[in-house]
């Protein structure tokens, strides 16, 4: 936490002012990724299940990262915002994984 003090010097509206053209580019990329996702879904028989999952997950994360970094301007914004978002996000992902493991199979012994 202490290192966030370095953010004290930070000031608002300091993330590099993107031109509207840049946002259009990001939007275009996100649209392409979405198209790719749908395409992957339509032709999912072409690849093995695992490949399909890996592909879709990476595409999903690419999209999410695009939105968070450039539309929500987390990139280059105050470090405290990154902390306040990334920590719960990591927690949420770990929680989902932990639950999926715990519920994948009921062992049946209290041990």
């Amino acid at each position: 936490m202490a290192d966030h003090d370095t953010a004290v010097s930070h000031h608002e509206e300091h993330h590099e002012a993107h031109g509207t053209g840049f946002y259009w580019q990001v939007g275009g990329v996100l649209a392409v990724v979405t198209a790719a996702e749908v395409a992957a879904f339509v032709y999912r028989d072409l690849f093995g299940h695992v490949t399909f999952l890996i592909l879709l997950f990476s595409l999903m994360f690419a999209k999410g990262i695009g939105v968070v970094l450039y539309f929500m301007h987390l990139r280059g914004d105050a470090r405290i915002f990154q902390f306040v978002f990334i920590v719960p996000f990591t927690l949420a992902v770990s929680m989902v994984l932990a639950f999926l493991v715990l519920f994948s199979h009921h062992v049946g012994i209290a041990g």
Partner: protein, 644 residues
């Protein structure tokens, strides 16, 4: 002269001549809001205590018929719900509300209206929870409400729905409050009050606020899903229809375990403030104490299933959660050792607050040790759901949280009211409470190892449980008496207690710079902080030798402020105006929630449902009216538009 002014500006409801309802119902002052939290939490403490005594009377003798089974089940469920959600949490929030902005040199919380909204919504939730006693029985399924007992076919009636929506409201209130604390602590600190100079109480409030906003959503979702099960025929937690009973346990405890740290960490923060002051030394190992708090907060999220060793997760999963749980012993131990080391070599003054702080450590050691045995799955399989676990959490929650809160009460009462509590009475109360709590709770360890299951409303004679149960019941009466002593002490001291100066304890932190009680704007001049103990260093410029990290700092520029509402310059300080909107908003939500409880109760027939729709409609009208007014108010106060 200062004293005369303090009388004028006293905000204590019972002493202030200039008491008007509006100044409380429409307040956005963090100090008044804190006092509302504290008083209502204390009232709930009395109620929860009465519930506990009724239960103890029932268990005092075998085959007792003082209470019916169903009433007993309602009582133990509401006792736990009350003590967790309506006593310890709001008491922490209340004291934090009052003290944190003062400690960091701020004039209010970051969002004063949101703060008022939280307190009124918390009261709305408490109101719903207790309304259920009058509307056909409170919830009787235990405070962790294991599925599928909560399904309508096993729990007909609305008790569980009241519980869900009541806790839903308090949950929203807590999250709003936590967001407020996070922003306040991070963004409202006085110049020079860097993160690693914050008082440890502030630190712990920050940690707890993060735990809270990360842990509560899981419970919110689970209880919404349960509401859908009961009201709209979903089956999330109903195995008969393909749901999963264990899923509820995982979701509940993923919230429920961090919740216990929400209950204890702020109190640990209070202890870390009280011990140094009465030892006249700085806290030992500031950063270790702070970061062990962070560590406990983090670990709290990966140990939830140690409440569920018996559900058949298998030795591997149990082993993981056991190991993670045991690791918590390390940061906890570090805290305890540092507290002892803080007193070591100090000038220890055994005031009542100090006695309570020491009592906290002593009792918490016992609760922590019994926690270790419970963290070991095999041992847990014998001890869980027995009175042993009841003993354990009463040692951490009563011996821990409650004793710590009394330490905080005796420590900050002068600041809040301008009067000192009676020390003599306080000490008598301390020893009475310490001894009677041990008489009440320690035998529960024996009962647990002797096989007495928890949550039983009666037991047959000849099990060998009679003696201890009887002793415990006696103990509760002494416990209750010690609480009565405290009430008497408060009432007397408010009238005729010794008048408190700004800094009656020779303390170190900023809340003791301002008058007792402080004016609405707290600080006439925002202090410039240069060290961890701004006030102390100002008082003892030469005692700052061996400062942390060897950083030799010039003493903070602190002036005692004998200021009050009409001090010169006070008029220039722009504070947000009174508004009823937060209260209207909370009431609206409460009314709507009351409507939702009956929204789909086919058994109750059409009239009830129509009534529920009407309630929901009224509620939402109030909500929208309040939001509109709120927005307009905040515009009126908007800093951008300059002062008016």
């Amino acid at each position: 002269m200062a004293i005369a002014e303090q009388k004028l500006t006293s905000t204590a409801p019972t002493t202030s001549e200039s008491f008007q309802w509006r100044s409380w119902l429409a307040t956005v002052d963090h100090k008044k809001i804190g006092i509302i939290y504290i008083i209502s939490a204390f009232v709930f403490f009395i109620i929860g205590g009465i519930e506990a005594m009724l239960m103890r009377v029932q268990l005092g003798t075998p085959n007792n018929t003082f209470l019916s089974a169903d009433l007993y089940n309602q009582l133990f469920t509401m006792h736990a719900t009350t003590m967790v959600f309506l006593v310890v949490m709001p008491m922490n929030v209340g004291i934090g509300n009052y003290v944190v902005p003062l400690m960091i040199g701020a004039r209010d919380m970051a969002f004063p209206r949101l703060n008022a909204f939280s307190v009124w919504l918390f009261l709305g939730g408490g109101f719903l929870l207790y309304l259920s006693f009058l509307t056909g029985g409170a919830t009787n399924v235990g405070w962790f409400a294991y599925a599928p007992l909560t399904q309508t076919q096993f729990s007909p009636g609305q008790g569980v729905d009241y519980w869900i929506l009541g806790l839903g409201l308090t949950g929203v209130a807590s999250i709003a409050g936590a967001l407020n604390f996070i922003v306040t602590v991070l963004n409202m600190r006085a110049p020079g009050m860097t993160i690693n100079r914050m008082p440890l109480f502030v630190w712990m409030n920050l940690v707890v606020s993060f735990i809270l906003i990360f842990a509560f959503p899981t419970f919110t979702v689970a209880s919404i899903q349960l509401l859908f099960d009961r009201q709209f025929g979903a089956a999330f937690f109903n195995p008969a229809l393909g749901g999963d009973a264990v899923l509820w346990q995982h979701l509940f405890w993923f919230f429920g375990h961090p919740e216990v740290y929400i209950l204890i960490l702020p109190v640990m923060g209070m202890i870390s403030e009280v011990l140094p002051v009465y030892s006249r030394k700085p806290i030992f190992g500031y950063s270790f104490v702070a970061f062990s708090g962070v560590g406990i907060g983090f670990l709290g999220f990966i140990v939830w299933a140690h409440h569920m060793f018996g559900t058949g997760m298998g030795p591997l999963a149990n082993g993981f959660f056991a190991a993670a749980s045991m690791v918590i012993a390390i940061p906890t131990g570090v805290k305890i050792f540092n507290w002892i080391a803080t007193m070591w070599g100090g000038d220890v003054r055994l005031t009542t607050a100090m006695l309570y702080a020491i009592g906290f450590i002593s009792m918490f050691i016992i609760g922590g040790i019994s926690g270790i045995t419970l963290a070991s799955p095999p041992i847990d399989l014998q001890q869980t759901d027995s009175y042993y676990v009841v003993a354990h959490f009463h040692y951490v929650l009563f011996g821990g949280s409650i004793l710590g809160l009394f330490a905080g009460a005796f420590y900050w009462f002068p600041k809040m009211t301008g009067r000192m509590l009676n020390e003599m009475l306080g000490k008598v109360q301390f020893w009475l409470m310490l001894i009677s709590m041990n008489v009440t709770f320690f035998p529960m360890h024996f009962l647990g190892t002797e096989g007495m299951p928890r949550r039983i409303y009666t037991y047959e004679s000849g099990m060998g449980w009679e003696m201890w149960n009887f002793i415990e019941t006696i103990g509760t009466f002494f416990l209750a008496f010690s609480v009565l002593l405290f009430i008497y002490n408060v009432l007397v001291s408010l009238r005729s207690g010794e008048v408190a100066s700004n800094d009656p304890w020779d303390a170190a932190t900023l809340e003791w710079v301002v008058p007792s009680p402080p004016p609405s704007y707290n600080f006439l001049h925002i202090p410039q902080v240069t060290s961890r103990r701004p006030l102390w260093d100002a008082k003892y410029p030469h005692s700052t030798a061996d400062d942390h990290h060897g950083e030799k700092s010039a003493p903070s520029q602190i002036r005692y402020e004998y200021s009050h509402e009409d001090s010169p310059g006070a008029k220039e300080i722009h504070m947000p105006t009174l508004t009823y909107m937060p209260m209207v908003l909370s009431s609206g939500l409460t009314v709507a929630a009351l409507g939702f409880i009956y929204i789909n109760q086919a058994i109750l027939g059409l009239p009830m449902r129509v009534a529920s729709y009407v309630f929901i409609a009224i509620g939402f009208v109030m909500v929208f009216y309040a939001i509109r007014g709120w927005v307009l108010d905040s515009r009126r106060d908007s800093p951008y538009l300059g002062h008016h």
